[in-house]
Amino acid sequence: MSSLRSVLRAAGYAALVVLLAACAFWAGTLVNEAVATGPALAHAANGSPVIEHRANQIGDTTVGEVVVNDQVVIRMRTDAGGFTAPERAMIIAERIRDWTAGPFSPYDLALREGAYGAAELRAHGRLIVTVNPQEAEALSSTAMGLARAWHDNMMLAMGVARQDIPEVAATAGAPGEAPGAGAAGEEGAQEAVAADWPPPEEYDDKIVPIVSVLEGVKVGAARVNGPKSKLGQVAACAQLETKFQDFLEIDVYVPITTNKPGPGGLDRVQQVGVTGLGDIEL
């Protein structure tokens, strides 16, 4: 009798523990949903991506664009090897189609050093695109930096979450060294450039109007900072507005070459950033 009672007690105790564990698990999943601390879901490729290519006009330049799943992943700005920029985009699109026609994963993409300072983006060892220094220079970047940007663009367009993109080895120079707007200081108190970073050329400040892309009107003024050669090209700062999770309001500033941003793409001046916001009689 006594042993039966102890067995029943143990069973009840075990049931209580299981119930508490289930409740704890449920509470844990709620915490996970609230702050997303769990691991990201594994990427699963759903069929072949849609690969397109097209010519586009940005300012006075005709560019060739490679589009993956409706997202521009590569934009060719220079001619090379006897091909125009749109023709180069067509060739690249064809290579991506070949790669994705069979079993593939976005994680097949890899960067390699090329000849004469170029960088190569490859998939399964097959060449997708060669980034030459001239192409990178058109964007004020390095060949490896631009190749890495295109690598990331392709992975994002193929459904890989940004946080899941692996750090790719960049063995040719400093990757992604494209923009760099100096942080000029406040009148009398601030100093512009940290002593341990010798800028490639002299930096300067300039105050330009902020023009809302949505409304087309001046909504303020921005102090922009960058290399003198780039700063001369800046006519205004386009302001894009968006919201994050329907809560955070985000104003994005794009230094551009005109003070009337029209429909289509914005002609960004690379290497120039904002270091002050305010009002001014313009």
Binding site: G28, N32, E33, G38, S141, G276
Partner: protein
């Protein structure tokens, strides 16, 4: 008695383990977070600094996606850091900013210092990417080569 104590410890262990398992094994959206407006609640509970730290990569990605839609991508490294007003609150974040620049310089940036600014007719606020979140004074130095590319406002 000794057995009861062991069982109790085991039970506690199982419950804690289940809770942790729930946190790390529960369902999670693949591409982006859908918090349905809970960011506001998180700001109230944990503060702007925590939220900026927690969602920095997602905010950075959202901004870069917007730029890509307008064909105005930044051809280099970016990240999102808190904005800290100099001279107030001892390092309390008041917002966030996306900063851009050479990757070697960008790695040093911990925050953006906001300072009252006056240059000629220009009245506003200077936004200086800095390498620390603490003890910011009006003589703070900016990180060379890095600028602000977006301003994230918290409507609280």
């Amino acid at each position: 008695m000794r057995m009861d104590s062991r069982l109790r410890n085991l039970a506690v262990l199982v419950v804690v383990w289940a809770f942790v398992l729930g946190i790390f094994a529960g369902p999670q959206p693949a591409r982006s977070l859908d918090l349905g407006g809970t960011i506001g609640d998180l700001v109230k509970i944990f503060g702007i600094g925590w939220v900026v730290n927690r969602f920095a990569d997602d905010i950075d990605g959202a901004i870069n996606d917007l730029l890509a839609q307008h064909e105005a991508e930044i051809a280099g490294a970016t990240k999102v850091v808190p904005i800290i007003r100099v001279g107030e609150g001892g390092g309390t974040a008041i917002g966030a900013a996306q900063v851009m620049g050479p990757s070697t310089q960008l790695e040093k940036v911990q925050a953006v210092a906001e300072i009252e600014l006056s240059i000629g007719d220009f009245r506003g606020r200077a936004l200086l990417p800095v390498s620390t979140k603490r003890n910011l004074t009006s003589s703070v130095k900016g990180i060379g080569g890095v600028g602000v590319s977006a301003n994230v406002k918290f409507p609280v």
